[in-house]
């Protein structure tokens, strides 16, 4: 039960670790696309799609995390 109760905390840790890694990774990708890419338009489009997709996934994870923090598990 202790493990189950600590689930939202573990997931929260995972969420913020992923957010941190994602931010660094986005900067690295953006640097490569805008420095060595062949077209500004293509680089912008790539970044937009990348951020939009990741944004949706972070939103889903955030909503689940928020729900788990306010609704306790019924094990």
């Amino acid at each position: 039960m202790i493990f189950a109760a600590s689930f939202p905390t573990l997931l929260g840790l995972l969420f913020f670790t992923l957010l941190f890694l994602f931010t660094i990774y986005s900067c690295m990708l953006g640097y490569h696309w805008f420095t060595y890419g062949t077209s500004v338009h293509k680089s912008r489009l790539s970044l937009s799609i990348y951020l939009a997709g990741a944004g949706i996934l972070f939103l889903i994870m955030g909503i689940i995390l928020y729900t788990l923090s306010i609704v306790p598990y019924a094990y």
């Binding site: 969420f15 994602f22 690295m28 420095t35 060595y36 890419g37 062949t38 790539s46 889903i60």
Partner: protein, 190 residues
């Protein structure tokens, strides 16, 4: 952008730029896509009593956690997929009227830029290997250069390789013709 970073000579002009064929990208992206649907298939199979995969726990009770972990898995694969896209997007072959520049993005912060002058071109051949490559018309362009190191340049997954070869040979011939037609100064051809 890339073109501003390459130092061209004053009378050097870009004849063509070629990137890998889109089907090569699709093939590489199929790996993270398969990894993305794998947990779903596993979950369906484990939850199907007919296969004998009944789980000892109630999955429904853990559905928020499973959804969270699946979204996290998708995010990691999303980042991986864009790493593949980066390698595809930044791999480029540039043909100018004087040289060939081959940029190979091997990974983040790992680039290989090779170039050779067209007069050093010794042998150029294309290789279209397999039904899919023949159907979608892509292949590998090998260029061997003259020199003590006998370097070989290889551009993999290039679209329309025969046309690319023809363009390179045409540019090389033009350059050699211009070189021959140049007025010679005494003592130049030692």
């Amino acid at each position: 952008m890339l073109i501003e970073k390459i130092e061209f000579n004053t009378d050097e002009e870009v004849l063509l730029q070629a990137q890998r064929h889109w089907f090569v990208l699709i093939t590489q992206l199929s790996f993270p896509f398969t990894l993305a649907i794998l947990p779903l298939i596993a979950l369906i199979l484990l939850g199907t009593p007919l296969i004998g995969g009944t789980l000892p726990i109630d999955i429904n009770a853990y559905s928020p956690t499973i959804s969270f972990l699946y979204a996290a898995w998708l995010l990691i694969l999303w980042m991986f997929a864009f790493n593949i896209w980066t390698n595809h997007y930044l791999d480029i072959l540039i043909l100018t009227n004087e040289r060939i520049i081959l940029i190979d993005q091997k990974g983040l912060f790992h680039r290989r830029v090779a170039s050779f002058r067209l007069e050093r071109l010794q042998d150029l051949h294309v290789e279209v290997d397999g039904i899919v490559a023949t159907f979608f018309d892509y292949g590998t362009v090998h260029a061997e250069t003259a020199g003590h190191s006998e370097e070989e340049f290889r551009a993999y997954g290039m679209p329309r390789p025969r046309e690319l070869k023809a363009e390179i040979l045409k540019a090389a011939d033009t350059m050699i013709d211009e070189y021959r037609a140049r007025p010679r100064v005494a003592g130049d051809d030692v």
